[in-house]
């Protein structure tokens, strides 16, 4: 009884949180709302890729393909059939807004099914391929889908497709994200998830213990791609405009980065990394210079920053490799390394300012943001290769441990 009570309350809280978010962001600008929506979509994408990559250990780097399949399937169906007399006849008698809602829910399911079918197509060869071979096949599959869509005039070709009517709802997008998180989390917490972990840890041993490796891998691909497809369907209806360029290789890489940055296998990590990596570039875009226009840096400044970061990272790594027992001493060394980096940046700025071609070059902050993205990626990998959360999950017992210093038993599957 208590179990069902907690379940019911958490489901209600989740739904409530989504609508609260919608209410909270209701008066925000379109731009800010779009960022909230993108974070929701990327959370879904990262968590679903985490199921394939982090939890099942199948190295897939073509997740944007499933996103695209979902988006284009849903977009095309809406464009072609929503206003047809038959569909309108079936939805007859409902208020106009709920007609669209019901249709959207249908489209989410259809998008998910189409993407799951694509996932099955990729999952089947994955039975024979491993590691890097699988990686390049998934990458190639993503490119093939993108190029095929680009050459279909019915889908708008490379110009893209206008999806009407639009459906702009933050709540639905975040609900999908929460459903995705809940699915993966529950899968991991129950016995159904153990086969996935065993495939990641040791396929042969898992097979010997009676795990159906084939079925597990294909299931992982099916579930992961279905969620990506559903996210795609929502994207198509939120933006109202999709082009093949929205689903390029770089998107796949960004999703993969989110998974790895958060810590492969950690759902919490994927969620937080997805939010950070979606917000960070937009945050950088917002910087203003002294004259009120977008900030631009001098070339010397950018080079000095790079020197400073390189110095700090190098020193931090050097300190990490030394086994310093005392906690305070170690902290001191860390602070020292960061201070050295800052000094390096200031000195570098003074030195490089004398180099005319560097000093005269003005670089708008807009161009620098992808560089910062790359640098963050490299720095995190150099300093914490297991990702921010490693394989840990957020849990109340973890919070208790932090505050009460309570001993909590470690388990293989994080609680």
């Amino acid at each position: 009884m208590k179990f069902w009570g907690i379940r019911l309350v958490s489901i209600l809280v989740a739904i409530g949180a989504c609508f609260a978010l919608q209410g909270l962001t209701g008066h925000w600008s379109d731009y800010a709302q779009r960022i909230v929506v993108l974070i929701g979509l990327y959370v879904t994408l990262a968590v679903s890729l985490n199921l394939i990559n982090g939890i099942t250990g199948q190295f897939s780097i073509g997740h944007a393909a499933f996103y695209q399949v979902g988006a284009y399937t849903a977009g095309y169906l809406t464009l072609t059939y929503f206003n047809s007399p038959r569909v309108q006849g079936m939805l007859h008698g409902l208020p106009a807004n709920s007609r669209l809602t019901i249709w959207l829910l249908l489209m989410i399911i259809v998008g998910a099914l189409a993407a799951a079918l694509a996932g099955l197509l990729v999952g089947l060869p994955s039975l024979r391929l491993k590691g890097d071979y699988l990686a390049i096949v998934t990458l190639g599959f993503g490119e093939i889908i993108r190029i095929i869509v680009q050459n279909q005039q019915a889908l708008g070709g490379s110009y893209g497709m206008n999806v009407t009517p639009k459906y702009e709802s933050i709540a639905v997008i975040w609900l999908l994200a929460i459903v995705c998180i809940a699915c993966c989390r529950n899968l991991l917490k129950t016995a159904h998830g153990l086969p996935f972990l065993s495939v990641r840890e040791d396929e042969v041993a898992g097979q010997a213990m009676g795990v159906n490796v084939t079925r597990t891998k294909v299931t992982a691909f099916l579930i992961g791609s279905a969620f990506a497809g559903a996210a795609g369907a929502l994207l198509a209806h939120f933006e109202g405009f999709i082009t093949p360029a929205t689903f390029g290789m770089d998107v796949s890489f960004i999703i993969l980065t989110m998974v790895v940055l958060g810590g492969t296998g950690s759902i919490t990590g994927s969620v937080i990394a997805a939010a950070l990596l979606t917000y960070l570039p937009e945050y950088l875009r917002g910087f203003k210079g002294a004259d009120g226009n977008a900030l631009s840096l001098s070339g010397a400044n950018v080079v000095a920053w790079m020197v400073g970061v390189a110095l700090a990272v190098g020193l931090l790594r050097w300190v990490m490799q030394k086994h310093i027992e005392s906690k305070g001493k170690r902290l001191g060394f860390y602070v020292g390394a960061i201070v050295a980096g800052a000094v390096g940046r200031i000195v570098g700025n003074l030195v490089f300012a004398h180099i005319a071609p560097l000093q005269d070059k003005q670089i708008p902050i807009d161009q620098v943001r992808m560089v910062i993205f790359a640098v963050v990626l490299i720095v995190i990998m150099l300093l914490r290769p297991q990702g921010i959360f490693a394989h840990h999950e957020f849990s109340w017992s973890l919070v208790r441990r932090l505050f009460k210093r309570e001993e909590v038993p470690h388990t293989a599957v994080s609680v």
Partner: protein
């Protein structure tokens, strides 16, 4: 069935040899880049995503060296080039690219070696993004510069081979139509000469008839001439591209010699066979990894210099993205870690791409690489020449 017939009917088999040769030239460059991927993978088991960016930097080095040699777009420089200029560019590209490769290995990949492979892979993606976007801040990329064609001493030269002569009847038709065409043109011209000041767009009746007769005869003659030109099987090879192919073969030969017959090459093969055991046997693993990066990156630099110079492609900082991905696909196709496999894969990939263009599906030329890859991997999971091991307890 009808579609199949239609497909075959749409193909022009007379241009097939030309497309195959083009495929060979393109494939040789893919092979050159793929060698870098495959060697690094063989030694470190790491997909060096930044390899395409090393290739891109090679293109820029060639551009700057050509500026230094005087071939600047904004100044009038030398009008003639020599093979020495090309050699200087080639050597500069190879040296600087290998330095870049060594720096990437030393500062990004070596610290990651003790960590999981996916962490190294993400680092590689990070380095690749850093070079693409960081390079865009400092390197000239808008408008995309391209190397002056004057640097290429073989610019505009080509060799024309006739493999199959066109049918004699076509030649006879052309010969028979030529006098009529000439005669009609001469008649019209003499009429014009006798009527000075006539408006050629508004002629009197007799002049108009002569004009049309001349145009018709000329049209028939040119039509026959065109049929004659495309009737046979011809092969046009630009001298620059031939030089490119020969240099590629020489470089590959040098690589094969180094890998098979030198001490370092043997050490490299040992490391690629078993990293840990090789280090126990006294191989200096770090220096061998650096050596691998030097070889791979200098080949990429040479490839970039040749494509940028002989093909004249405009440079941006994303210049290496597509060739990089395709070359990596080629390496996997041939069996990653396998040196002859990379060459075979590269050539196949280049051929496949040009065959798709030949068949009239040029929109799909970027997709064919992956289609071939997936089909091959379904039947041979370890690539064409690679071996896939079944894992046992």
């Amino acid at each position: 069935m009808t579609t199949a017939l239609h497909l075959v009917a749409g193909l022009d088999f007379n241009t097939l040899p030309q497309q195959l040769v083009n495929g060979l030239l393109l494939g040789a460059i893919y092979a050159l880049i793929a060698l870098g991927y495959t060697m690094v993978y063989g030694v470190l088991k790491l997909i060096n995503f930044a390899h395409g960016e090393v290739y891109m930097l090679g293109g820029y080095v060639a551009l700057f060296v050509s500026y230094y040699l005087g071939f600047r777009p904004d100044k009038v420089g030398p009008t003639h080039s020599s093979i020495w200029n090309l050699l200087i560019m080639l050597v500069a590209c190879m040296v600087i690219c290998s330095l870049v490769g060594v720096a990437i290995e030393r500062f990004a990949y070596r610290p990651m070696r003790s960590h999981s492979r996916i962490a190294s892979l993400i680092t590689a993606i990070g380095v690749s993004l850093l070079l693409q976007y960081g390079g865009a801040l400092f390197l000239p990329n808008s408008p995309p510069p391209s190397i002056s064609e004057l640097v290429n001493p073989y610019h505009g030269q080509s060799k024309d081979f006739t493999l199959v002569a066109p049918p004699a009847s076509l030649k006879a038709t052309v010969d028979s139509l030529k006098p009529a065409s000439d005669l009609a043109a001469a008649n019209y011209k003499s009429w014009l000469d006798s009527h000075p000041g006539a408006d050629t767009y508004n002629l009197p009746k007799d002049g108009d008839a002569l004009k049309h007769a001349a145009q018709d005869a000329k049209g028939k003659y040119e039509d026959a001439q065109h049929k004659l030109d495309t009737g046979g099987v011809r092969l046009i090879i630009q001298t620059g591209q031939a030089v490119m192919l020969i240099s590629t073969i020489v470089l590959m030969g040098a690589l094969t010699y180094m890998v098979l017959f030198t001490k370092r090459g043997r050490a490299m093969r040992a490391v690629s066979h078993d990293f840990d055991s090789a280090s126990l046997m006294g191989v200096n693993v770090n220096s061998i990894v650096l050596f691998t990066f030097i070889l791979g990156s200098s080949l990429a630099g040479a490839g970039a210099m040749m494509t940028a110079t002989f093909l004249g492609t405009p440079l941006t900082t994303f210049y290496g993205l597509v060739p990089g991905v395709k070359a990596f696909t080629a390496a996997v196709l041939g069996g990653i870690g396998n040196i002859p496999g990379a060459v075979l894969g590269g050539l196949l990939m280049g051929m496949a791409e040009n065959l798709v263009v030949w068949a009239g599906y040029s929109n799909y030329r970027d997709a064919i690489a992956f289609v071939v890859l997936i089909i091959v991997l379904l039947f041979r999971p370890g690539g064409l020449l690679g071996s896939s091991k079944v894992e046992k307890v």
